[in-house]
């Protein structure tokens, strides 16, 4: 059975990427199971999705514990513990990271037990963020080595059929370019094995102690904890105010901001709290004089490494 896990951020097409790969397997005659996992759905938040494919019926369910292939659409997720990018990786696992840094750098940095490959900048550079998923699918399909190019194309078309020919064409370009550029590594991902009884370690079950009720009540005692959560890390696009164009209306952007992350001073000058702006771009859409631009976060991280 192939066990593949995709990591990305809400809005990068990670769920769609897993579905395109699932459909490609399905069209290639495999039994398939694919599913996304996330908490509250929101743009920029870490999500993962997984695909299982096998020639026989699939009984396994839920999170993948030993992935054969881990696909990371956003390299900023690697250091986020909650994203669990490295979870369950073994010497037999292959990790594919969409990154402008080299595979060697990632290998050293992560001490990854398996193979690390990058989806090089050439394949994804011109891609807008929302097409990263398609590139990842194309690359994954080639690494698996059991999905022909024509089937990948058919799967992309099927999954995106409701979105119109232009979107399909742009996703296909990304998926097929990534498929082609992974040619040297074609078929480098192997199927995983079943978890045999002989190899299993007995679970470390414990008896839960009876705790005091104040400790065992699901309550948060500290106040204003949401301030501590730097939700600004979820952002893939940053709203940037052009103060020459801002007409100091004093209320539109700040009022529409769903996170109260825009403050306006006594002179009507708005200021964005980037620690908590999630990058929803509602202010960009609402600003009457079009004084707020949407700038990819990547541009800022490149300037300040």
């Amino acid at each position: 059975m192939y066990r593949i896990r995709f990591h990305g951020r809400g809005g990068q097409g990670t769920k769609t990427a897993s579905r395109m790969l699932g459909t490609a397997f399905f069209l290639a005659g495999y039994q398939v199971q694919d599913a996304p996992r996330y908490g509250a759905e929101r743009r920029g938040a870490p999500i993962f999705a997984y695909v299982r494919a096998a020639k026989e019926a699939i009984h396994e369910r839920g999170v993948i514990r030993e992935p054969n292939l881990v696909v990371v659409a956003d390299d900023s997720l690697v250091p986020v513990p909650a994203a669990g990018v490295l979870q369950g990786a073994t010497a037999r696992s292959v990790m594919l990271i969409s990154s402008s840094e080299s595979a060697a750098t990632w290998r050293d940095r992560l001490n990854f037990p398996g193979t690390v490959l990058t989806l090089p900048a050439e394949a994804s550079e011109q891609a807008e963020l929302c097409f990263v998923g398609a590139a990842c699918t194309g690359a994954a399909a080639r690494l698996l080595g059991v999905i022909p190019r024509a089937i990948l194309e058919a799967a992309v078309r099927e999954e995106l059929s409701a979105l119109g020919e232009d979107i399909i064409r742009r996703n296909l370009e990304q998926a097929l370019a990534a498929f082609d550029c992974m040619e040297p590594h074609a078929g480098s991902v192997n199927e995983g094995v079943a978890f045999s009884v002989a190899d299993a370690k007995a679970p470390d079950w414990i008896d839960l102690p009876v705790d005091e009720s104040d400790a065992a009540a699901a309550a948060i005692h500290a106040s204003a904890t949401s301030v501590e959560v730097r939700t600004g890390l979820w952002r893939v696009l940053r709203p940037v105010i052009d103060y020459d164009r801002c007409n100091r209306c004093w209320w539109v952007c700040s009022e529409f901001c769903p996170d109260s992350a825009i403050k306006v001073d006594a002179d009507g000058r708005p200021e964005i709290d980037y620690d908590h702006c999630k990058g929803c771009m509602i202010c960009v859409a609402q600003c009457p004089p079009h004084a707020i631009a949407a700038v990819p976060e990547q541009e800022f991280s490149e300037k300040t490494p």
């Binding site: 039994q31 398939v32 509250a40 079943a194 414990i206 500290a222």
Partner: protein, 413 residues
């Protein structure tokens, strides 16, 4: 017949569409919302002829479903978790109207604390209501059981609403290959609803949900509903046989897997049962005589079929993905009541609580359950109930509590 990769939610929607539901009161809740979104899309595009009404709550939704069913139309509705809880007054109210309809519940753990992930404590709260309950393990089963549920609900000797349950995330958002039957074939299996005498009209007034003064009529009506629910067992067997004859897929009240010659049996409900099946295969490879029994019908409970398939077994590990506070696993109690006093009942009936809030059950945990049965049989001593919870998990909780403690004491300064 089309074979497609669809989610459990879409499979439920296909069930409602192929059943030609006439009316659908709705209210959104994660992880069920995709069902009503899918149906709304089909109604909007004209692919489905159904009246959908967005209600102001699940309480109203179930009331509307029962009232609409009483007029003699085919009704579909869906909810999950806290939504089912909010509807609970009417969940217990509508079955006595004896107006059949189908409610899909997408299982999700109950608060407190709030979770989005699944366990069966939500749907088990409806256990004693008069709704019949069918539990699914695959997306295919969700579609097929929705069709079977209409036949069961509308069966002349039953006439009760039916809940079809699927697990949130593990089925609701998971795509699997599903055979979508042809509408004409479904029409042969499930003809239009014959409301019989259930046909409330403005010109033929009727009072439902009435009061009785005195315990005699109360006892009569309540017990009649119970008897009708029990009639669901033979009715289900007949309908499932019809379904198998037409579509080739077998859905007995119990699913049994490699259990005929098994000495040890895993008893588990819902989609985690497919994980247990995998574990059974691995244990068989290792030479262990293990099988699996999964109840599809929870209400009516298949007492006699269970006695038959478990007769002579050495031990049963019951995995409850639910928790009755102050008692333990609900299925364990239910199964014990079926087996107690039977001369050939398994001597060991062990209780495991697992999968709460979607917590994974690892293959080695299934292996260990069978080891627990072994040891209990050797020692001749029943094992205590066991929560599937590891030392690592407790360390994770202790870490969170340490942070909470620091925040709390800082807050007192």
């Amino acid at each position: 017949m089309t074979r497609a990769l669809i989610t459990g939610n879409q499979a439920a929607a296909w069930g409602a569409r192929l059943a030609r539901a006439d009316y659908m009161p709705a209210f959104p809740i994660t992880p069920q919302t995709e069902i009503i979104e899918t149906l709304a899309g089909w109604i909007d595009s004209g692919e489905m002829d159904c009246r959908m009404v967005m209600m102001e709550s699940e309480h109203s939704m179930i009331t509307a479903a029962g009232a609409a069913a009483a007029t003699g139309v085919r009704v579909f509705t869906a909810t999950s978790s806290q939504g089912l809880m909010y509807a609970m007054e009417m969940i217990y109210g509508v079955p006595g109207m004896r107006a059949p309809f189908v409610l899909v519940n997408v299982s999700r753990g109950l608060q407190t604390p709030v979770t989005l992930e699944p366990d069966h404590t939500d749907v088990l709260a409806a256990r004693d209501s008069g709704f019949l309950q069918i539990h699914c393990a695959t997306c295919q089963e969700v579609l097929d059981q929705t069709l079977i549920a209409y036949r069961l609900a509308e069966h002349h000797r039953v006439r009760l609403p039916v809940i079809v349950n699927l697990d949130g995330f593990y089925l609701s958002f998971t795509r699997e290959p599903v055979e979508i039957p042809d509408p004409a074939a479904v029409d042969r299996f499930l003809p239009g609803f014959d409301p019989e005498t259930t046909r409330f009209r403005a010109g033929e007034p009727l009072s439902q949900g009435v009061v009785v003064l005195g315990s005699t009529p109360y006892s009569y009506f309540r017990y009649e509903t119970h008897l009708a629910a029990l009639q669901g067992l033979p009715a289900y067997a007949e309908i499932a046989a019809d379904f198998a004859a037409q579509f080739g897929r077998e859905y007995g009240a119990l699913e049994t897997y490699r259990s005929d010659d098994a000495e040890w049996v895993l008893f588990i409900m819902g989609s985690f049962a497919t994980k247990a099946k995998d574990a059974v295969d691995r244990m068989r490879e290792a030479g262990w005589k293990v099988g699996l029994v999964r109840p599809r019908l929870l209400r009516p409970f298949p007492d006699e079929p269970l006695r038959q398939v478990l007769a002579g077994k050495r031990g049963v590990a019951v995995v409850d993905q639910n928790l009755s506070m102050g008692k333990g696993g609900v299925l364990h109690s239910e199964l014990a009541s079926v087996l107690y006093g039977q001369l050939d009942a398994p001597p060991i009936l062990a209780s495991f609580i697992g999968g709460l809030g979607g917590r994974d059950i690892a293959p080695e945990e299934f292996y260990e359950m069978i080891q627990v049965l072994h040891r209990a049989a050797e020692e001749g001593k029943p094992p205590p109930p066991r929560l599937l919870f590891t030392g690592d998990e407790l360390r994770e909780v202790r870490k969170l509590q340490a942070i909470a403690h620091a925040e709390r004491t800082e807050g007192l300064k």
